[in-house]
Structures are given as structure tokens and as C-alpha cells.
Symmetry: C2
Subunit: 396 residues, 2 copies
């Protein structure tokens, strides 16, 4: 009796989440220390101490009616003001409070901006491999997903293929930088090329094409890599941000959208996004966490923890003979499957209590995503299992 669309979704439910649930079961059965769960992007680095201090200070000093009450659907004005100032300081932008809308995480933000922009049948371009939930988010608002095939040489953007897929119905392009699942960072040169392409296509079709920059991993960039701030390169950019990874608060569902004045119909977009936040049932971003985020804008999780994991994992996997895309950001490694059907490899890995996610879940078959936001011991202890798999597949 449930909706037909939900029947399909339940059956083909997120392989990531299925693996996460499976991992919890296996941990109960075999002991957590004997299961190597690389499935979910659930940070293992604690939130910075300032988060705890902020929560305590707010609970002690702000009257509960203000601390936990409704505010404007867009969020607290002082919080949005502080975020705008922080962005301007860091990126030389010139946002104001009105350009910021507080959201229920990045997932909430993406749904808000898609609801704001999409008429039924409007097309949304994504670059494979991509976070599988985009498929559902676009469908929620009756959009049509167009998938740009990957450039498997370097997993940068395949702009030639993108050009062929842009039509007069293309309303938005979603870019995820640093990328989940590949760990690639698109550098300034690639961003300029993308911007040029979109400007050309807007002129060609006389349309507005909104670039939605999904940036939950912005702060996780290694070796001093720069993640370009996209509003500076393309006028029709909306940024979706989340504190899930930068402050290790994924369960709290707190993030924001940036909607610059330079957007076509910016005033309408801003007004509609606030209404969309309400009518989609988010109403507003969680109130206490809005203030916590504003308190902790200069705080960061321990990047070295992830960087150390990255080194452990890349060195370990390389020494086993595995191939992979060099991870530059986020906390994912994009492993080349030693067999064409990577699902087979993932199943074999599970026998070794290694929980990985097949690339097909990200429209990137033949590859496997390893989320290394885990304890370094998990990585160290998993290496014998990876080595046995490598041997099994003749890699070493």
C-alpha cells in the first residue's frame, strides 16, 4: 500500500546505508574491533572542544524561549550575519545576511534550492561518479537527472560530454568539490573551464543555468590544496554548505545555503528558498545548533587525523598492489576494482569483514569507495585482510 516510487527506493535502497546497518550487526556478532567498516562518511574525529563549550555557554546564558524558539525560516539574523562576514573574510566575497539561509544540513539545503528552482521536467546535470542521493533529491522535485560520464583518466570533469548534455531544459548543475566518492579536488583551471562552458550555454539557449556547489568537504583539503570558491567564477552559483564534516556534527543536521546577489532573479530565489525551507517541512535549521555553528566558525576538526589516515591507507593499499585515484580532499579513496564487476569484489571483501561501497552506487562502476573517516587502528588492522584480497585477485 506504500507509494510505488517508495517501493523501488526501498528495494534499491542506499547501498551505503545498507552497509552501515550491516556493519552495526556484524560489530555485535564479531566484536567491533573485528569489523572494518569503511562504508559511511560518519566522522570518527570528535567535534572541537569549542562545540562543547558553546553548547554549555548557550544553555547557561540564553533564555530557553530564545534558545529553542522559532525564528525566521531563514534562520537567526545574527547567525547569518556572522557566516556572511566569515565567508567575506576568507574568500574576499561580499555577502550580506540576506544571502545566507540556514538549512537542515547540506541535504536539506540541496532540497530547498532544487524545490526553489525546478519546474517539473527541468533537467539537472551531475558528473559521475556522484553522491547517489542527488538522484532522489532531483526526483523529489520532479526534475530529470542527466549524468555526465566520468573522465576515467583523472576523474576531473568531463566537460566535453557535459556540453553535449546541456539543453534548453538544463536548470541546474550540481558540483561536489572536494568530491564524494573520488576524493578529487577540482582545481581553479577546471572551474574556469566549467564556468566558461556554462556562460556559453546560457547565451546559446538564453536560459539561466544555476551551478549548485555542494561543499560539505570544503575544509578537508590536504597538502595545502585550494578549493576555489565558486561564486567568484560563475555568476549563477548557489553554495550548499554543511558543518557535518568541518565540525563533526553530521547527526545535528546543520548547514546553510549561499545565494549571492549576482544570481539571476536573486531576490526571487532568496524569497522562494525561505518559503521552500518551510513548506518542505524543515521549517528552520535546528535553533541551538545554528548558534553553536556561529560560535565555532573559526574552529575546525583535526585535519591531521584524516591526513594521517590517508597516508596509512594509500601506502598500505599501494604496497598490496591496488590502484586508486590519489585522494586530495574529503575522506574517501576511490579504489580501482581488480575485477570488472566491483560488486563481486565488495562481496569478497565482506567475507573478510571489510565493509566497502561499490562504485555503482555512485554511477562509477568498476571502482569502490573507501571512507577513511575511521580510527587509524581500523586501517592498520584491516591491512592483512586487504593483502589477502590482493593475493586472491593476483595483485601481489
Amino acid at each position: 500500500m506504500i507509494a510505488k516510487s517508495m517501493k523501488d527506493l526501498v528495494e534499491n535502497s542506499s547501498a551505503i546505508r545498507a552497509m552501515f546497518e550491516e556493519g552495526k550487526k556484524m560489530a555485535k556478532e564479531f566484536g567491533a574491533e573485528n569489523v572494518y567498516d569503511f562504508s559511511l562518511g560518519n566522522p570518527n574525529v570528535p567535534a572541537p572542544e569549542t562545540v562543547r563549550e558553546s553548547i554549555r555557554r548557550l544553555a547557561d546564558t540564553v533564555p530557553p524561549v530564545q534558545l529553542h524558539g522559532y525564528m525566521s525560516n531563514a534562520g537567526y539574523e545574527e547567525v547569518r550575519e556572522k557566516i556572511a562576514e566569515s565567508l567575506n573574510r576568507r574568500f574576499g566575497t561580499s555577502f550580506e545576511m540576506k544571502n545566507i539561509l540556514m538549512t537542515v544540513g547540506a541535504a536539506g539545503g540541496l532540497n530547498v534550492i532544487l524545490k526553489t528552482l525546478l519546474d517539473p521536467g527541468d533537467e539537472v546535470l551531475v558528473f559521475a561518479p556522484f553522491f547517489g542521493e542527488y538522484r532522489s533529491y532531483v526526483k523529489n522535485h520532479q526534475g530529470v537527472l542527466r549524468v555526465v560520464p566520468p573522465d576515467t583518466r583523472d576523474y576531473r570533469l568531463n566537460l566535453e560530454a557535459a556540453e553535449g548534455l546541456i539543453t534548453e531544459k538544463t536548470k541546474a548543475v550540481i558540483l561536489n568539490n572536494p568530491n564524494n566518492p573520488t576524493g578529487v579536488i577540482y582545481p581553479e583551471k577546471v572551474i574556469r573551464e566549467l564556468s566558461d562552458l556554462l556562460v556559453r550555454m546560457e547565451r546559446k539557449f538564453r536560459t539561466s543555468i544555476y551551478l549548485i556547489s555542494d561543499e560539505p568537504y570544503r575544509e578537508l583539503a590536504y597538502d595545502g590544496a585550494e578549493v576555489p570558491y565558486l561564486t567568484k567564477y560563475y555568476h549563477n552559483t548557489v553554495v550548499g554548505y554543511s558543518f557535518s564534516k568541518s565540525l563533526s556534527l553530521p547527526g545535528e543536521r546543520i548547514g546553510y545555503l549561499v545565494m549571492p546577489d549576482e544570481l539571476d532573479d536573486s531576490v526571487d530565489v532568496v524569497a522562494a528558498a525561505s518559503v521552500a525551507n518551510r513548506v518542505l517541512g524543515f521549517v528552520n535549521a535546528p535553533s541551538l545548533m545554528q548558534r553553536v555553528a556561529a560560535d565555532c566558525l573559526d574552529a575546525k576538526v583535526d585535519l591531521e587525523f584524516y591526513d594521517n589516515n590517508r597516508k596509512l591507507l594509500t601506502e598500505g593499499l599501494a604496497s598490496c598492489g591496488f590502484s586508486f585515484v590519489k585522494p586530495e580532499g574529503a575522506f574517501y579513496l576511490w579504489l580501482k576494482s581488480p575485477v570488472a564487476d566491483e560488486k563481486e569484489f565488495v562481496a569478497e571483501a565482506k567475507k573478510e569483514h571489510l565493509l566497502l561501497v561499490p562504485g555503482s552506487s555512485f554511477a562509477g562502476p568498476g571502482y569502490i569507495r573507501i571512507a577513511y573517516c575511521v580510527s587509524p587502528y581500523t586501517i592498520k588492522n584491516s591491512m592483512p585482510a586487504f593483502r589477502r584480497l590482493a593475493a586472491e585477485y593476483g595483485l601481489c
Copy 2:
């Protein structure tokens, strides 16, 4: 360039929210003490002290990775367990953890269950006057809203009219008890009649009709009134609950759905609702607040505060000559407009710095909603303005 559907929504945006924003502006201009804002259901009663204690205790004792991390999309198992036990204790039900899904407030919960149930074109019945957001929630999932006209004698349910509107396409009925905007509580007798009707209609059309009981105001019942627990009366009942009012946490967005085993296809509904929570972008209910809610299941806001307001307001308005439906629950009073076009009255009231919401926003024209979740001083100080209006319209 925004979506056409959003254009309409922005133009006809929530009169409640518009009034709330207007009120904030007027408060700045004339001073908060000179504006009588009865527009929004934003509780003026502080959260119980146990909320603050719980937040502090959790921040001090639970490791941040557990406190703020991802959990299953349905929520923490121990939280859902405690909620099931609490319900069983209070209402003699027999729910288990699996029957509970933690949601981003009641608004999130309603969207989750509608996404779970509705195929495009499925019909959802609501009883006028009703919370205007239901209209958007149903549309979000391509459902079709069918509005049962009110029984203006007592604002109980107009079941005769409902029967005429139920078809083989009716997938759900939303009931809000205690009711926003009327403040009426539907007693057991009415609930039995509704249940009988739905059972008959299910047999007639050989369909499943899910009753969605939206219960954010359950704990706000005066004069010892009982609010029947609907799962005990009708097999296909899904309960949506929120802690927004019971614990004065509306900004925190925390609530839950109850999906009993007795539902048709209960296993499918439960599985799909969890997936819907994820794909709609909620992902999960805010993590810290899940634990706070579980800590505070036996806590309640000061009901006497609202009850006192209710007395102040009803006595004051009656003495001015106004007519209204006797408020039994929630914190709303349903005032009969002294002129047919209640928007005219609302505009006149605004000149007196009285912010009210026209009944048309709830499909209840000719009436006005007064939200009395305000300071008692607001009520006392507003009375001269109400009296002047009463005189203007010849009521006294």
C-alpha cells in the same frame, strides 16, 4: 527563473509567517511592549529546567562522536525504545522500538509519511479549518487535497460531508487533535464515529485509508479533557508527534512518527518511512535533541501558564462582546469575525497593533485565529485595543 509553483507559494505565502515577520518589524518601530503579536504558535513558556540539565549532562558525559554522529535514519534505538515504553505506559498501547521513527519535528514527520504513502493523484482528506501547511505538504508529494467543510455549529468533525468526499483514491486523512486553529478537542465519541466511517469506506472501496493523527498539541488539554490515542480506535492510524509545544522546543525540530504493527503493510510502511526520512533530506532527527527528548519524556511545560492565558483572553473578549469557539486545547482561540470578511477585521486590528491571523488561511473564513502562547501582559495590555475594535464594530 524560480519554479512556477514557488512563485505562487511566495505570493500567497503563509499569512501566519508574514504576520510574524511584520510583528518583528513593528516591535522594532513601536517597541515590543506596544505590539500585541498573537500571530505565531511560538511558545512563550520556557522549556522545563530538565531540558537544560539534560543538554549539560549530555555535553559533559557523552563523547562528541556519539553525541553528534550519524545514527540509523530512524533515530537512536535507545531513544525510540524509551518513547515506545512511555507511550505504552500512558496509553496502554504495545509499541516497540521498531514502531517509532524520530523526525525533524511534526512537519518533517508529516512529509515523511506522505512521501511514504502517496502515489501521484492520491487524495488526502483534511477537515476545515486546518493548518494551512497541510496544503503544501500534500502537494510536495503530488497528492490532491480534499477539504471537508466545517460544521460551524461546534467545529467538531463534519463526518457527513467527509463521507461524500471519500473515494477509491483516498489514501489518507489528516486529523489534528487538539485542533489548530480552533482549539477544539475531538472527544472519544467523535473519534469512534470517524473510525466507523473509515472502516466502512475501506470495505466499500477495498482500499487502505491511513489516518494521520497530527498531535503537536496533545499535552495541551485544559479542564482535565482527554485526548483519545487514535491507534486504539482505528487500525490504520499513524501518529505524528512533536516536542515543540510539550517541551517548548519549536526551533529544535524534534518529533516522531508512530507506525503500529496494525497498519496494513506495516513492515513496508516502516521500512519506506525510514528511507523517506533520508531521501527527503532530513536524513535523521537532530541527534542531541533526540537524547534530550528521551531524557524529558515525563517533563512538561507549565500548562497553568497557558490555562491562565486562556481564562484572561476568553473573559476579556467575552466582556467586549466578541463570540468565539470555547478553547479546550492547544493555545489558539477561534474568534468569530464581527464582519463577514475577516481580513478587513484583521487589517483594522493591525492599526491597533494587534496581530491576528485571518481564518481564510485555515480554510475557515469569517473567523480569526488568536495564538495565546504569549505573555499574560500582552493579553492584559491588548484588551483596550480589543475593546476599541468591539466598539468600532458595534459589539458593545
